[in-house]
Assembly symmetry: C2
Amino acid sequence: MKCRRCKALAAVALPSHHAGFCPDCFRKFFLKQVETAIRRKKMILPEDKILVALSGGKDSLALMEALTRLGYQPVGLHVDLKIPGSSDVARKTVEDFCSRRGLRLIVADMEEWGLPIPEVRRKVKRPICSICGKIKRHAFNRIALEQGFDVLATGHNLDDETARLFANTLRWDEAHMAGQSPSLPAENGFARKIKPLYRLSEFETAAFAFLTDIEYTTAPCPYSRGASFTAHKALLAQLEARSPGSKISFYEGFLERGRPAFQNRDSDKEQLAPCQYCGMPTSAGACGVCRVRQLLQQS
Amino acid sequence: MKCRRCKALAAVALPSHHAGFCPDCFRKFFLKQVETAIRRKKMILPEDKILVALSGGKDSLALMEALTRLGYQPVGLHVDLKIPGSSDVARKTVEDFCSRRGLRLIVADMEEWGLPIPEVRRKVKRPICSICGKIKRHAFNRIALEQGFDVLATGHNLDDETARLFANTLRWDEAHMAGQSPSLPAENGFARKIKPLYRLSEFETAAFAFLTDIEYTTAPCPYSRGASFTAHKALLAQLEARSPGSKISFYEGFLERGRPAFQNRDSDKEQLAPCQYCGMPTSAGACGVCRVRQLLQQS
């Protein structure tokens, strides 16, 4: 197969685009997809201060790399969860990535925040993955707002987004469908949130990471039973193999015609007020994360 | 495995209901599901004259059998498409089924209607399956209205309905989502349409047909490349195997929360008027089926 742009030998085949690219043209293609996402969904204004959540995995680091190459000056945010055998590697990966490229990095240490995940896991009876996710989103939002960032970017890719959409659709979960978007405005005490990789598949972000010499971590979390939506992703992969382009058209069609139908109906939103301890939005007096912190302090 | 109702040896295992049934209790279970569908979706009023479209396959004959066993007095309608090697068998199957049970049957002969499918296929350039479907629905509606039936019942099962819903959802096809329901009211010159088997899987209708000694035809149409939505059905079968009950909850959730969102938006419906030749509703002066008939007469 030849590169669609320059006719050199292709290194990356992309059936959903009926194309293959050589390494250099693939990097250009990738950046163009990110640019298109940012432009079409009005993700970033010229003067915006951008915070990028960096886990140390391929998606978040590829996003940071792409934004930098597109001329933005994003700041990294790493949440150190203090999970033995996983957090050390992740933090070092992110620190090395940022220092090598001269990028500013903020590290939020969950030990210092009174929320080390191993202890949370011991004390709280609910499934740890959902609490850990809540704590991470809390840290992202708090740092973004308190340190004056205009927008918080995460590395969710097309496979993440379509698998989540598929799960929401199977349940016809109106509230989650109304709230699923690659670009959510700032409101109710939440920072603006964007997903500039939503047009790119997991395969494409992995290829970009490889072709831009990104060293990322693949160490799995010892508390997790595997990535989320694995089975849904496998079903959608079959669909994509059968009709290339299915995933992006499912997702874009949802944004154009599906989501608006549910947004109109989502009129009875919860009333939110600042948490009495941390100031982050909550429907109770104290937010869920502060309540977990208190539980840990009591014992 | 034991029968859930009577503890005899089970003959049919139903993972989505976490149950197994002996033959007698399975028939009761099946009839109960049909009854539940009719009651919940207000499909049939006590005095309604019911017309059932009978292809000769397991679903339509199982539906006719179930309605009869539930005390209704449905009339059968078979559309003889005049396809060599397929229509003869289908017609004979339906005629035998009805005569053995003393049920009234109307046969609509497409030769007499000036619409034999082999000739339609020779003259019309578009894909034959979609035109043939249109002709059948036209015949169903015309006979129902002209002969004073209150409701037209078809044998669509849960697998048919979820596969169609999945296809509509992947495209976020608002109009088709607004129009998909197991119970459509009479309007705009269309008869009331119901699908009393929508809660039952293809496996369950096949089991009911087998356990009630229904002789049905499995002869494939020589013009078709196979059943519709085969690939979608395979994906949904995987989902169902992984989490039993997924299909019915996907479909019922759609009826409760998905469809209403699209119905509200479906305000710009086409204006329909009676066809100048047959009186059936159409957005043009002559309906699509009458135009096909004229094309055949011209040559």
